[in-house]
Protein backbone atom coordinates (compact mmCIF):
# COMPACT_ATOMS: atom_id res chain seq x y z
CA UNK A 1 0.00 0.00 0.00
CA UNK A 2 2.53 2.56 -1.14
CA UNK A 3 3.56 4.98 -3.83
CA UNK A 4 6.00 3.16 -6.12
CA UNK A 5 8.10 5.13 -8.57
CA UNK A 6 10.00 3.04 -11.14
CA UNK A 7 12.65 3.96 -13.69
CA UNK A 8 11.84 7.65 -13.72
CA UNK A 9 13.90 9.43 -16.38
CA UNK A 10 13.81 13.23 -16.67
CA UNK A 11 15.94 15.41 -18.92
CA UNK A 12 16.11 19.15 -19.51
CA UNK A 13 16.85 19.32 -23.23
CA UNK A 14 19.59 16.78 -23.81
CA UNK A 15 20.94 16.97 -20.25
CA UNK A 16 19.66 14.08 -18.10
CA UNK A 17 18.69 15.15 -14.57
CA UNK A 18 17.42 11.82 -13.31
CA UNK A 19 18.37 8.43 -14.71
CA UNK A 20 16.10 5.55 -13.79
CA UNK A 21 15.14 6.75 -10.34
CA UNK A 22 13.28 4.09 -8.36
CA UNK A 23 11.90 4.46 -4.84
CA UNK A 24 8.87 3.86 -2.67
CA UNK A 25 6.96 6.04 -0.21
CA UNK A 26 4.75 4.27 2.34
CA UNK A 27 1.17 5.31 3.02
CA UNK A 28 0.42 7.26 6.15
CA UNK A 29 4.11 8.13 6.60
CA UNK A 30 6.39 11.06 5.93
CA UNK A 31 9.17 10.29 3.47
CA UNK A 32 12.08 12.74 3.36
CA UNK A 33 13.80 13.32 0.04
CA UNK A 34 17.41 14.34 0.63
CA UNK A 35 20.46 15.05 -1.50
CA UNK A 36 22.82 17.95 -2.24
CA UNK A 37 21.88 21.03 -4.27
CA UNK A 38 21.26 20.15 -7.88
CA UNK A 39 20.80 16.44 -7.19
CA UNK A 40 17.30 16.58 -8.69
CA UNK A 41 15.00 16.69 -5.65
CA UNK A 42 12.69 19.36 -7.08
CA UNK A 43 12.76 17.74 -10.51
CA UNK A 44 11.83 14.40 -8.99
CA UNK A 45 8.90 15.88 -7.08
CA UNK A 46 7.62 17.77 -10.12
CA UNK A 47 7.91 14.68 -12.30
CA UNK A 48 6.01 12.58 -9.77
CA UNK A 49 3.38 15.34 -9.54
CA UNK A 50 2.94 15.11 -13.31
CA UNK A 51 4.17 18.64 -13.89
CA UNK A 52 7.17 17.58 -16.00
CA UNK A 53 7.28 15.09 -18.84
CA UNK A 54 9.10 11.96 -17.68
CA UNK A 55 9.59 8.36 -18.70
CA UNK A 56 8.91 5.61 -16.15
CA UNK A 57 5.93 4.77 -14.04
CA UNK A 58 4.26 6.13 -10.89
CA UNK A 59 1.95 3.66 -9.18
CA UNK A 60 -0.28 3.91 -6.14
CA UNK A 61 -1.61 0.60 -4.87
CA UNK A 62 -0.52 -1.19 -8.03
CA UNK A 63 -2.40 1.28 -10.26
CA UNK A 64 -0.27 3.09 -12.83
CA UNK A 65 -1.34 6.75 -12.77
CA UNK A 66 -1.13 8.89 -15.92
CA UNK A 67 0.33 12.40 -15.75
CA UNK A 68 -3.05 14.10 -16.01
CA UNK A 69 -4.47 12.03 -13.17
CA UNK A 70 -1.47 12.74 -10.96
CA UNK A 71 -1.85 16.44 -11.64
CA UNK A 72 -5.46 16.25 -10.62
CA UNK A 73 -5.08 14.07 -7.52
CA UNK A 74 -1.65 14.84 -6.07
CA UNK A 75 -0.64 18.03 -4.28
CA UNK A 76 2.67 19.61 -5.10
CA UNK A 77 3.92 22.58 -3.09
CA UNK A 78 6.73 24.40 -4.94
CA UNK A 79 9.60 26.08 -3.15
CA UNK A 80 8.65 29.63 -2.25
CA UNK A 81 8.59 31.59 -5.48
CA UNK A 82 6.70 34.53 -4.04
CA UNK A 83 3.16 35.39 -4.99
CA UNK A 84 2.78 39.12 -5.25
CA UNK A 85 -0.93 39.31 -5.68
CA UNK A 86 -3.68 40.79 -3.57
CA UNK A 87 -5.60 37.57 -2.95
CA UNK A 88 -6.33 36.91 0.71
CA UNK A 89 -4.76 33.90 2.40
CA UNK A 90 -8.21 32.32 2.73
CA UNK A 91 -8.77 32.75 -1.01
CA UNK A 92 -5.37 31.20 -1.72
CA UNK A 93 -6.27 28.17 0.37
CA UNK A 94 -9.67 27.82 -1.33
CA UNK A 95 -7.91 27.74 -4.72
CA UNK A 96 -6.46 24.39 -3.68
CA UNK A 97 -9.81 22.80 -4.50
CA UNK A 98 -10.10 24.43 -7.91
CA UNK A 99 -12.22 21.66 -9.37
CA UNK A 100 -14.81 21.86 -6.64
CA UNK A 101 -15.32 25.62 -6.85
CA UNK A 102 -18.34 27.04 -8.62
CA UNK A 103 -20.04 30.43 -8.64
CA UNK A 104 -20.69 30.11 -4.94
CA UNK A 105 -18.37 28.44 -2.44
CA UNK A 106 -20.17 26.15 0.04
CA UNK A 107 -19.88 27.45 3.62
CA UNK A 108 -18.54 24.04 4.65
CA UNK A 109 -15.54 24.49 2.35
CA UNK A 110 -14.82 27.96 3.71
CA UNK A 111 -14.96 26.73 7.28
CA UNK A 112 -12.75 23.75 6.45
CA UNK A 113 -10.18 26.16 4.94
CA UNK A 114 -10.47 28.43 7.97
CA UNK A 115 -10.01 25.50 10.34
CA UNK A 116 -6.88 24.45 8.48
CA UNK A 117 -5.46 27.97 8.77
CA UNK A 118 -6.24 27.91 12.46
CA UNK A 119 -4.36 24.63 12.85
CA UNK A 120 -1.30 26.17 11.18
CA UNK A 121 -1.51 29.28 13.35
CA UNK A 122 -2.66 31.57 10.53
CA UNK A 123 -6.25 32.21 11.65
CA UNK A 124 -5.58 35.88 12.33
CA UNK A 125 -4.15 36.36 8.86
CA UNK A 126 -6.98 34.67 6.94
CA UNK A 127 -8.14 37.96 5.42
CA UNK A 128 -4.71 39.50 4.96
CA UNK A 129 -3.56 39.52 1.34
CA UNK A 130 -0.73 37.15 0.49
CA UNK A 131 1.52 39.96 -0.74
CA UNK A 132 1.50 41.53 2.71
CA UNK A 133 2.71 38.66 4.87
CA UNK A 134 6.23 37.39 5.54
CA UNK A 135 7.92 34.69 3.48
CA UNK A 136 7.37 32.14 6.23
CA UNK A 137 3.69 32.98 6.57
CA UNK A 138 3.30 32.72 2.80
CA UNK A 139 4.95 29.30 2.93
CA UNK A 140 2.43 28.20 5.58
CA UNK A 141 -0.46 29.54 3.51
CA UNK A 142 0.62 27.44 0.54
CA UNK A 143 1.05 24.42 2.78
CA UNK A 144 -2.54 24.97 3.90
CA UNK A 145 -3.53 25.10 0.22
CA UNK A 146 -1.73 21.82 -0.48
CA UNK A 147 -3.42 20.12 2.51
CA UNK A 148 -6.81 21.59 1.59
CA UNK A 149 -6.71 19.67 -1.69
CA UNK A 150 -6.89 16.42 0.31
CA UNK A 151 -4.50 14.87 -2.18
CA UNK A 152 -3.86 11.17 -2.63
CA UNK A 153 -0.12 11.95 -2.49
CA UNK A 154 1.39 15.02 -0.82
CA UNK A 155 4.60 16.35 -2.39
CA UNK A 156 6.38 19.24 -0.68
CA UNK A 157 9.48 21.02 -1.93
CA UNK A 158 11.46 22.23 1.09
CA UNK A 159 8.38 23.04 3.17
CA UNK A 160 10.44 24.28 6.13
CA UNK A 161 12.97 26.38 4.22
CA UNK A 162 11.66 29.85 5.12
CA UNK A 163 10.42 29.01 8.61
CA UNK A 164 11.57 29.68 12.17
CA UNK A 165 12.27 26.68 14.40
CA UNK A 166 8.84 26.54 15.97
CA UNK A 167 7.06 26.70 12.64
CA UNK A 168 9.37 24.06 11.17
CA UNK A 169 8.06 21.72 13.84
CA UNK A 170 4.46 22.89 13.33
CA UNK A 171 4.68 22.17 9.62
CA UNK A 172 6.29 18.75 9.88
CA UNK A 173 3.86 17.72 12.61
CA UNK A 174 0.91 18.92 10.50
CA UNK A 175 2.19 17.03 7.45
CA UNK A 176 2.77 13.85 9.45
CA UNK A 177 -0.65 14.14 11.07
CA UNK A 178 -2.36 14.69 7.71
CA UNK A 179 -0.56 11.73 6.10
CA UNK A 180 -1.46 9.50 9.03
CA UNK A 181 -5.07 10.69 9.34
CA UNK A 182 -5.87 10.17 5.66
CA UNK A 183 -3.45 7.25 5.20
CA UNK A 184 -1.66 8.81 2.20
CA UNK A 185 2.06 9.04 1.39
CA UNK A 186 3.74 12.41 2.02
CA UNK A 187 7.14 13.24 0.52
CA UNK A 188 9.12 16.32 1.52
CA UNK A 189 12.41 17.46 0.02
CA UNK A 190 14.59 18.54 2.94
CA UNK A 191 18.04 19.99 3.58
CA UNK A 192 18.03 19.78 7.37
CA UNK A 193 19.10 16.18 7.91
CA UNK A 194 18.51 16.19 11.66
CA UNK A 195 14.96 17.36 11.06
CA UNK A 196 14.61 14.63 8.42
CA UNK A 197 16.18 12.12 10.84
CA UNK A 198 13.58 12.96 13.50
CA UNK A 199 10.40 13.46 11.52
CA UNK A 200 10.67 11.14 8.55
CA UNK A 201 9.77 7.48 8.78
CA UNK A 202 11.50 6.78 5.51
CA UNK A 203 14.33 8.59 3.68
CA UNK A 204 15.16 8.62 -0.02
CA UNK A 205 18.64 9.91 -0.77
CA UNK A 206 19.52 11.23 -4.23
CA UNK A 207 23.07 11.35 -5.55
CA UNK A 208 24.68 11.10 -8.97
CA UNK A 209 21.40 11.56 -10.85
CA UNK A 210 19.83 8.47 -9.30
CA UNK A 211 18.44 7.23 -6.00
CA UNK A 212 21.49 6.28 -3.98
CA UNK A 213 19.61 4.54 -1.19
CA UNK A 214 16.28 4.47 0.58
CA UNK A 215 15.25 3.16 3.98
CA UNK A 216 14.71 4.13 7.62
CA UNK A 217 16.68 7.18 8.86
CA UNK A 218 19.25 5.18 10.84
CA UNK A 219 20.00 3.10 7.76
CA UNK A 220 20.28 6.02 5.32
CA UNK A 221 21.97 8.66 7.48
CA UNK A 222 25.50 7.33 7.97
CA UNK A 223 28.93 8.96 8.25
CA UNK A 224 30.02 7.17 5.11
CA UNK A 225 27.08 8.48 3.10
CA UNK A 226 27.67 12.01 4.36
CA UNK A 227 31.23 11.75 3.00
CA UNK A 228 30.20 10.19 -0.30
CA UNK A 229 27.04 12.10 -1.20
CA UNK A 230 27.34 15.40 0.68
CA UNK A 231 31.17 15.52 0.70
CA UNK A 232 31.32 16.46 4.36
CA UNK A 233 32.66 15.04 7.58
CA UNK A 234 29.79 14.68 10.03
CA UNK A 235 28.97 13.17 13.38
CA UNK A 236 25.95 10.93 13.09
CA UNK A 237 24.26 9.67 16.26
CA UNK A 238 21.12 7.67 16.70
CA UNK A 239 19.16 9.15 19.61
CA UNK A 240 18.04 6.70 22.26
CA UNK A 241 14.46 8.00 21.98
CA UNK A 242 14.43 7.47 18.19
CA UNK A 243 15.60 9.73 15.40
CA UNK A 244 19.03 10.50 14.03
CA UNK A 245 21.14 13.60 14.63
CA UNK A 246 23.55 14.73 11.94
CA UNK A 247 26.14 17.32 13.03
CA UNK A 248 28.19 18.58 10.10
CA UNK A 249 31.87 19.16 10.99
CA UNK A 250 33.74 20.23 7.86
CA UNK A 251 33.55 20.18 4.07
CA UNK A 252 35.84 17.70 2.35
Amino acid sequence: MTLVVSDLIVSYGSAPVLERACFTAPRGRLTALIGPNGSGKSTLLKAVAGLLPAAGSVRVDETDLERARRRAEFSYMPQDTGAMVSLTILEVVLLGRLRALGWAIPAAEVSRAAALLDRLGLADLAHRTIDRVSGGQRQLAFLAQALFREPSVLLLDEPTAALDLRRQLTVLEAVRADAAARNVPAIAAMHDLTLAGHFADHIVCLGGRRVDVEGPPEYVLTRDRMRRIYEIDADVEVSPGGGVRVSPLRAL
Partner: protein, 356 residues
Protein backbone atom coordinates in the same frame (compact mmCIF):
# COMPACT_ATOMS: atom_id res chain seq x y z
CA UNK B 1 -9.70 17.03 10.90
CA UNK B 2 -10.88 15.97 14.38
CA UNK B 3 -9.33 19.00 16.04
CA UNK B 4 -10.73 21.35 13.40
CA UNK B 5 -14.31 20.49 14.23
CA UNK B 6 -13.77 21.44 17.85
CA UNK B 7 -12.13 24.67 16.79
CA UNK B 8 -15.04 25.71 14.59
CA UNK B 9 -16.73 27.54 17.42
CA UNK B 10 -13.79 29.94 17.66
CA UNK B 11 -11.67 31.75 15.09
CA UNK B 12 -12.63 29.76 11.97
CA UNK B 13 -16.31 30.59 12.46
CA UNK B 14 -15.34 34.27 12.60
CA UNK B 15 -13.32 33.84 9.43
CA UNK B 16 -16.32 32.31 7.67
CA UNK B 17 -18.59 35.17 8.70
CA UNK B 18 -16.00 37.67 7.56
CA UNK B 19 -15.56 35.95 4.22
CA UNK B 20 -19.32 35.99 3.77
CA UNK B 21 -19.52 39.72 4.48
CA UNK B 22 -16.61 40.39 2.12
CA UNK B 23 -18.44 38.48 -0.62
CA UNK B 24 -21.65 40.39 0.10
CA UNK B 25 -19.73 43.66 -0.11
CA UNK B 26 -18.28 42.75 -3.51
CA UNK B 27 -21.70 41.76 -4.85
CA UNK B 28 -23.09 45.03 -3.48
CA UNK B 29 -20.40 47.04 -5.29
CA UNK B 30 -21.17 45.25 -8.55
CA UNK B 31 -24.90 45.93 -8.10
CA UNK B 32 -24.14 49.60 -7.40
CA UNK B 33 -22.05 49.76 -10.57
CA UNK B 34 -24.96 48.31 -12.57
CA UNK B 35 -27.32 50.98 -11.23
CA UNK B 36 -24.76 53.73 -11.90
CA UNK B 37 -24.21 52.43 -15.43
CA UNK B 38 -27.96 52.49 -16.11
CA UNK B 39 -28.05 56.14 -15.03
CA UNK B 40 -24.99 57.16 -17.07
CA UNK B 41 -26.33 55.24 -20.07
CA UNK B 42 -29.57 57.25 -19.98
CA UNK B 43 -27.57 60.46 -19.51
CA UNK B 44 -25.51 59.50 -22.57
CA UNK B 45 -28.69 59.25 -24.65
CA UNK B 46 -29.93 62.56 -23.26
CA UNK B 47 -26.88 64.49 -24.46
CA UNK B 48 -26.08 65.34 -28.03
CA UNK B 49 -25.41 68.10 -30.55
CA UNK B 50 -29.12 68.39 -31.43
CA UNK B 51 -29.80 69.86 -27.95
CA UNK B 52 -33.12 68.06 -27.64
CA UNK B 53 -35.11 68.76 -24.45
CA UNK B 54 -34.62 66.08 -21.81
CA UNK B 55 -38.35 65.43 -21.39
CA UNK B 56 -38.85 64.86 -25.12
CA UNK B 57 -35.96 62.38 -25.33
CA UNK B 58 -37.25 60.50 -22.29
CA UNK B 59 -40.72 60.36 -23.87
CA UNK B 60 -39.31 58.89 -27.08
CA UNK B 61 -37.07 56.52 -25.17
CA UNK B 62 -39.85 55.13 -23.04
CA UNK B 63 -42.27 54.86 -25.92
CA UNK B 64 -44.66 57.77 -25.33
CA UNK B 65 -46.77 58.79 -28.33
CA UNK B 66 -46.74 62.10 -30.12
CA UNK B 67 -43.07 63.01 -30.53
CA UNK B 68 -42.08 64.46 -33.88
CA UNK B 69 -40.35 62.22 -36.42
CA UNK B 70 -37.02 64.01 -36.39
CA UNK B 71 -36.67 63.52 -32.65
CA UNK B 72 -37.64 59.85 -32.94
CA UNK B 73 -35.09 59.40 -35.72
CA UNK B 74 -32.30 61.12 -33.76
CA UNK B 75 -32.95 59.08 -30.64
CA UNK B 76 -33.47 55.70 -32.30
CA UNK B 77 -31.07 55.86 -35.24
CA UNK B 78 -28.23 57.91 -33.75
CA UNK B 79 -28.19 58.30 -29.99
CA UNK B 80 -29.35 54.85 -28.95
CA UNK B 81 -26.88 52.95 -31.20
CA UNK B 82 -24.06 55.28 -30.12
CA UNK B 83 -24.79 54.81 -26.43
CA UNK B 84 -25.19 51.05 -26.81
CA UNK B 85 -21.99 50.79 -28.81
CA UNK B 86 -20.06 52.82 -26.23
CA UNK B 87 -21.28 50.49 -23.51
CA UNK B 88 -20.53 47.32 -25.47
CA UNK B 89 -17.05 48.45 -26.48
CA UNK B 90 -16.40 49.40 -22.86
CA UNK B 91 -17.48 45.94 -21.71
CA UNK B 92 -15.37 44.19 -24.36
CA UNK B 93 -12.27 46.29 -23.64
CA UNK B 94 -12.68 46.12 -19.86
CA UNK B 95 -12.95 42.32 -19.91
CA UNK B 96 -10.14 41.98 -22.47
CA UNK B 97 -7.87 44.18 -20.38
CA UNK B 98 -8.50 42.20 -17.21
CA UNK B 99 -7.89 38.91 -19.04
CA UNK B 100 -4.74 40.24 -20.68
CA UNK B 101 -3.30 41.49 -17.38
CA UNK B 102 -4.04 38.09 -15.87
CA UNK B 103 -2.59 35.83 -18.58
CA UNK B 104 0.47 38.03 -19.05
CA UNK B 105 0.91 38.66 -15.31
CA UNK B 106 1.59 42.28 -16.14
CA UNK B 107 -0.13 45.43 -14.84
CA UNK B 108 0.74 47.34 -18.01
CA UNK B 109 -0.95 44.85 -20.30
CA UNK B 110 -4.05 45.96 -22.16
CA UNK B 111 -6.09 44.55 -25.06
CA UNK B 112 -3.67 46.41 -27.34
CA UNK B 113 -0.39 45.14 -25.85
CA UNK B 114 -0.06 42.26 -28.26
CA UNK B 115 -0.72 44.29 -31.41
CA UNK B 116 -4.32 43.26 -32.09
CA UNK B 117 -5.53 46.82 -32.58
CA UNK B 118 -2.47 47.74 -34.67
CA UNK B 119 -3.35 44.76 -36.88
CA UNK B 120 -6.96 45.94 -37.05
CA UNK B 121 -5.85 49.46 -37.97
CA UNK B 122 -3.61 48.12 -40.72
CA UNK B 123 -6.41 45.92 -42.10
CA UNK B 124 -8.85 48.82 -42.14
CA UNK B 125 -6.29 51.16 -43.72
CA UNK B 126 -5.57 48.69 -46.52
CA UNK B 127 -9.29 48.34 -47.22
CA UNK B 128 -9.71 52.13 -47.31
CA UNK B 129 -6.58 52.64 -49.44
CA UNK B 130 -7.51 50.04 -52.03
CA UNK B 131 -11.14 51.13 -52.08
CA UNK B 132 -12.08 47.49 -51.68
CA UNK B 133 -15.80 46.76 -51.33
CA UNK B 134 -17.33 43.37 -50.78
CA UNK B 135 -20.12 42.68 -53.30
CA UNK B 136 -22.90 41.86 -50.85
CA UNK B 137 -21.71 43.66 -47.74
CA UNK B 138 -20.22 47.02 -48.76
CA UNK B 139 -20.67 48.52 -45.27
CA UNK B 140 -18.91 45.62 -43.62
CA UNK B 141 -15.81 45.70 -45.83
CA UNK B 142 -13.63 47.88 -43.61
CA UNK B 143 -14.70 46.21 -40.34
CA UNK B 144 -14.03 42.79 -41.85
CA UNK B 145 -10.62 43.91 -43.07
CA UNK B 146 -9.92 45.23 -39.56
CA UNK B 147 -11.01 41.90 -38.09
CA UNK B 148 -8.75 40.02 -40.49
CA UNK B 149 -5.84 42.35 -39.62
CA UNK B 150 -6.35 41.67 -35.91
CA UNK B 151 -6.52 37.93 -36.59
CA UNK B 152 -3.24 38.15 -38.53
CA UNK B 153 -1.58 39.90 -35.61
CA UNK B 154 -2.91 37.26 -33.22
CA UNK B 155 -1.70 34.44 -35.47
CA UNK B 156 1.76 36.00 -35.66
CA UNK B 157 2.04 36.35 -31.87
CA UNK B 158 0.72 32.83 -31.38
CA UNK B 159 3.12 31.40 -33.96
CA UNK B 160 6.18 32.95 -32.35
CA UNK B 161 5.07 32.19 -28.81
CA UNK B 162 4.39 28.48 -29.35
CA UNK B 163 7.98 27.98 -30.47
CA UNK B 164 9.12 29.03 -27.00
CA UNK B 165 6.48 27.40 -24.85
CA UNK B 166 3.83 30.15 -24.61
CA UNK B 167 5.26 31.83 -21.51
CA UNK B 168 4.02 35.30 -20.57
CA UNK B 169 7.44 36.85 -21.26
CA UNK B 170 7.69 35.38 -24.75
CA UNK B 171 4.13 36.47 -25.56
CA UNK B 172 4.85 40.05 -24.49
CA UNK B 173 8.01 40.16 -26.61
CA UNK B 174 6.32 38.61 -29.64
CA UNK B 175 3.35 40.94 -29.11
CA UNK B 176 5.47 44.06 -28.96
CA UNK B 177 7.34 43.03 -32.11
CA UNK B 178 3.98 42.46 -33.82
CA UNK B 179 2.69 45.79 -32.56
CA UNK B 180 5.67 47.62 -34.09
CA UNK B 181 5.42 45.62 -37.31
CA UNK B 182 1.79 46.55 -37.89
CA UNK B 183 2.32 50.15 -36.81
CA UNK B 184 5.10 50.45 -39.39
CA UNK B 185 2.95 48.84 -42.06
CA UNK B 186 0.16 51.24 -41.14
CA UNK B 187 2.55 54.20 -41.48
CA UNK B 188 3.55 52.85 -44.87
CA UNK B 189 -0.08 52.73 -46.00
CA UNK B 190 -0.65 56.24 -44.68
CA UNK B 191 2.43 57.48 -46.52
CA UNK B 192 1.22 55.95 -49.77
CA UNK B 193 -2.34 57.27 -49.42
CA UNK B 194 -3.68 60.40 -51.16
CA UNK B 195 -4.64 63.27 -48.83
CA UNK B 196 -8.39 62.56 -48.90
CA UNK B 197 -7.85 58.81 -48.41
CA UNK B 198 -5.40 59.58 -45.63
CA UNK B 199 -8.07 61.66 -43.94
CA UNK B 200 -10.47 58.71 -44.09
CA UNK B 201 -7.84 56.42 -42.60
CA UNK B 202 -7.04 58.84 -39.78
CA UNK B 203 -10.75 59.29 -39.09
CA UNK B 204 -11.15 55.52 -38.87
CA UNK B 205 -8.21 55.22 -36.50
CA UNK B 206 -9.74 57.71 -34.06
CA UNK B 207 -12.31 55.61 -32.33
CA UNK B 208 -15.72 57.19 -32.80
CA UNK B 209 -19.20 56.09 -31.84
CA UNK B 210 -20.65 57.94 -34.86
CA UNK B 211 -19.96 54.74 -36.78
CA UNK B 212 -22.51 52.85 -34.66
CA UNK B 213 -25.75 51.79 -36.35
CA UNK B 214 -28.53 49.22 -36.10
CA UNK B 215 -26.45 46.64 -38.03
CA UNK B 216 -23.12 46.74 -36.24
CA UNK B 217 -24.38 47.13 -32.66
CA UNK B 218 -25.95 43.64 -32.63
CA UNK B 219 -22.79 42.17 -34.20
CA UNK B 220 -20.54 43.68 -31.51
CA UNK B 221 -23.06 42.57 -28.87
CA UNK B 222 -22.96 39.00 -30.16
CA UNK B 223 -19.16 38.85 -30.33
CA UNK B 224 -18.84 40.31 -26.83
CA UNK B 225 -21.45 37.93 -25.41
CA UNK B 226 -19.83 34.86 -26.97
CA UNK B 227 -16.36 35.91 -25.78
CA UNK B 228 -17.56 36.44 -22.21
CA UNK B 229 -19.61 33.22 -22.10
CA UNK B 230 -16.62 31.19 -23.26
CA UNK B 231 -14.36 32.55 -20.54
CA UNK B 232 -16.81 31.97 -17.67
CA UNK B 233 -15.85 28.31 -17.06
CA UNK B 234 -12.23 29.39 -16.51
CA UNK B 235 -12.69 32.06 -13.86
CA UNK B 236 -11.21 30.03 -11.02
CA UNK B 237 -8.32 28.86 -13.16
CA UNK B 238 -7.62 32.50 -14.04
CA UNK B 239 -7.66 33.45 -10.36
CA UNK B 240 -5.19 30.63 -9.70
CA UNK B 241 -2.98 31.87 -12.55
CA UNK B 242 -2.49 35.13 -10.65
CA UNK B 243 -0.38 33.10 -8.19
CA UNK B 244 2.13 32.43 -10.97
CA UNK B 245 2.51 29.67 -13.54
CA UNK B 246 4.12 27.17 -11.21
CA UNK B 247 1.64 27.57 -8.39
CA UNK B 248 -1.30 27.49 -10.81
CA UNK B 249 0.02 24.26 -12.33
CA UNK B 250 0.40 22.87 -8.81
CA UNK B 251 -3.34 23.22 -8.18
CA UNK B 252 -4.15 21.51 -11.46
CA UNK B 253 -4.33 24.31 -14.05
CA UNK B 254 -3.12 23.47 -17.56
CA UNK B 255 -1.40 26.85 -17.84
CA UNK B 256 -0.50 26.73 -21.54
CA UNK B 257 -3.96 25.63 -22.60
CA UNK B 258 -5.60 28.34 -20.48
CA UNK B 259 -3.27 31.01 -21.85
CA UNK B 260 -3.90 30.00 -25.48
CA UNK B 261 -7.66 29.89 -25.01
CA UNK B 262 -7.88 33.25 -23.26
CA UNK B 263 -5.45 34.78 -25.77
CA UNK B 264 -7.77 33.74 -28.61
CA UNK B 265 -10.83 35.11 -26.79
CA UNK B 266 -9.11 38.44 -26.11
CA UNK B 267 -8.14 38.67 -29.80
CA UNK B 268 -11.77 38.09 -30.73
CA UNK B 269 -13.20 40.53 -28.18
CA UNK B 270 -10.69 43.24 -29.06
CA UNK B 271 -11.11 42.81 -32.79
CA UNK B 272 -14.88 42.91 -32.36
CA UNK B 273 -14.66 46.10 -30.33
CA UNK B 274 -12.31 48.03 -32.61
CA UNK B 275 -13.39 46.73 -36.04
CA UNK B 276 -16.47 48.93 -36.23
CA UNK B 277 -15.56 51.99 -34.19
CA UNK B 278 -11.76 52.24 -34.46
CA UNK B 279 -9.10 52.32 -31.79
CA UNK B 280 -10.11 53.41 -28.30
CA UNK B 281 -7.20 53.81 -25.92
CA UNK B 282 -6.74 53.33 -22.19
CA UNK B 283 -10.16 51.89 -21.33
CA UNK B 284 -8.75 48.36 -21.43
CA UNK B 285 -5.83 49.41 -19.26
CA UNK B 286 -7.64 51.54 -16.67
CA UNK B 287 -10.91 49.61 -16.18
CA UNK B 288 -9.29 46.45 -14.76
CA UNK B 289 -7.20 48.48 -12.30
CA UNK B 290 -10.28 50.32 -11.09
CA UNK B 291 -12.14 47.02 -10.75
CA UNK B 292 -9.26 45.32 -8.93
CA UNK B 293 -9.14 48.19 -6.45
CA UNK B 294 -12.84 47.76 -5.70
CA UNK B 295 -13.35 43.99 -5.63
CA UNK B 296 -9.92 42.35 -5.49
CA UNK B 297 -8.39 39.57 -7.57
CA UNK B 298 -11.10 36.91 -7.39
CA UNK B 299 -12.10 36.78 -11.06
CA UNK B 300 -15.71 35.93 -10.27
CA UNK B 301 -15.95 39.55 -9.19
CA UNK B 302 -13.05 41.12 -11.08
CA UNK B 303 -14.31 40.25 -14.56
CA UNK B 304 -17.87 41.59 -14.14
CA UNK B 305 -16.48 44.68 -12.40
CA UNK B 306 -13.95 45.26 -15.20
CA UNK B 307 -16.77 45.02 -17.73
CA UNK B 308 -18.86 47.52 -15.76
CA UNK B 309 -15.92 49.86 -15.19
CA UNK B 310 -15.12 49.76 -18.91
CA UNK B 311 -18.74 50.47 -19.81
CA UNK B 312 -18.92 53.33 -17.27
CA UNK B 313 -15.73 54.94 -18.55
CA UNK B 314 -16.93 54.66 -22.14
CA UNK B 315 -20.40 56.01 -21.37
CA UNK B 316 -18.86 58.89 -19.39
CA UNK B 317 -16.37 59.60 -22.17
CA UNK B 318 -19.20 59.48 -24.68
CA UNK B 319 -21.07 62.20 -22.76
CA UNK B 320 -17.89 64.30 -22.54
CA UNK B 321 -17.17 63.86 -26.24
CA UNK B 322 -20.52 65.49 -26.96
CA UNK B 323 -20.10 68.32 -24.44
CA UNK B 324 -16.54 69.41 -25.33
CA UNK B 325 -17.43 71.09 -28.61
CA UNK B 326 -21.08 72.17 -28.65
CA UNK B 327 -22.83 71.14 -31.83
CA UNK B 328 -20.23 68.49 -32.67
CA UNK B 329 -18.88 65.20 -31.39
CA UNK B 330 -15.17 64.80 -30.63
CA UNK B 331 -14.00 61.25 -31.44
CA UNK B 332 -14.36 59.31 -28.20
CA UNK B 333 -10.93 57.67 -28.65
CA UNK B 334 -9.34 61.07 -28.08
CA UNK B 335 -11.40 61.68 -24.93
CA UNK B 336 -10.62 58.30 -23.37
CA UNK B 337 -6.91 58.80 -23.94
CA UNK B 338 -6.96 62.31 -22.47
CA UNK B 339 -8.94 61.38 -19.34
CA UNK B 340 -7.47 57.87 -19.08
CA UNK B 341 -3.89 58.83 -18.30
CA UNK B 342 -4.50 61.14 -15.33
CA UNK B 343 -7.11 58.69 -14.08
CA UNK B 344 -4.57 55.91 -14.11
CA UNK B 345 -2.09 58.05 -12.17
CA UNK B 346 -4.81 58.84 -9.67
CA UNK B 347 -5.63 55.16 -9.20
CA UNK B 348 -2.04 54.13 -8.73
CA UNK B 349 -1.10 56.91 -6.35
CA UNK B 350 -4.26 56.80 -4.26
CA UNK B 351 -4.00 55.26 -0.79
CA UNK B 352 -1.26 53.17 0.78
CA UNK B 353 -2.43 49.81 -0.53
CA UNK B 354 -1.01 48.26 -3.62
CA UNK B 355 -3.46 46.80 -6.06
CA UNK B 356 -1.11 44.81 -8.18
Amino acid sequence: MDRSVAALSGKPAGAVARYRSLTARRIGLIAAAVVLLAAVFVADILTGPAMLPVATVLDVLFGAEGADRTTVAIVHAIRLPMALMAMLVGIALGVSGALMQTILGNPLASPYTLGFSAGAGFGAAVAILTGLTLPLLPDLTTPLAAFVGAAMAAALVYGFSTIRGMSAEVMVLAGIATLFLFQSLLSMVQYLADPEVLQQIVFWLFGSMLKANATNVPIVAAITAVGILLVLPDLWRLTALRLGDQRAAAVGVDVTRLRVKVFALVAMLTAGAVAFVGTIGFVGLVAPHLARMLVGEDQRFLLPMSALAGALIMAGASILSKLISPGGVVPIGIVTAVIGVPFLFFLLLRGRRRYW
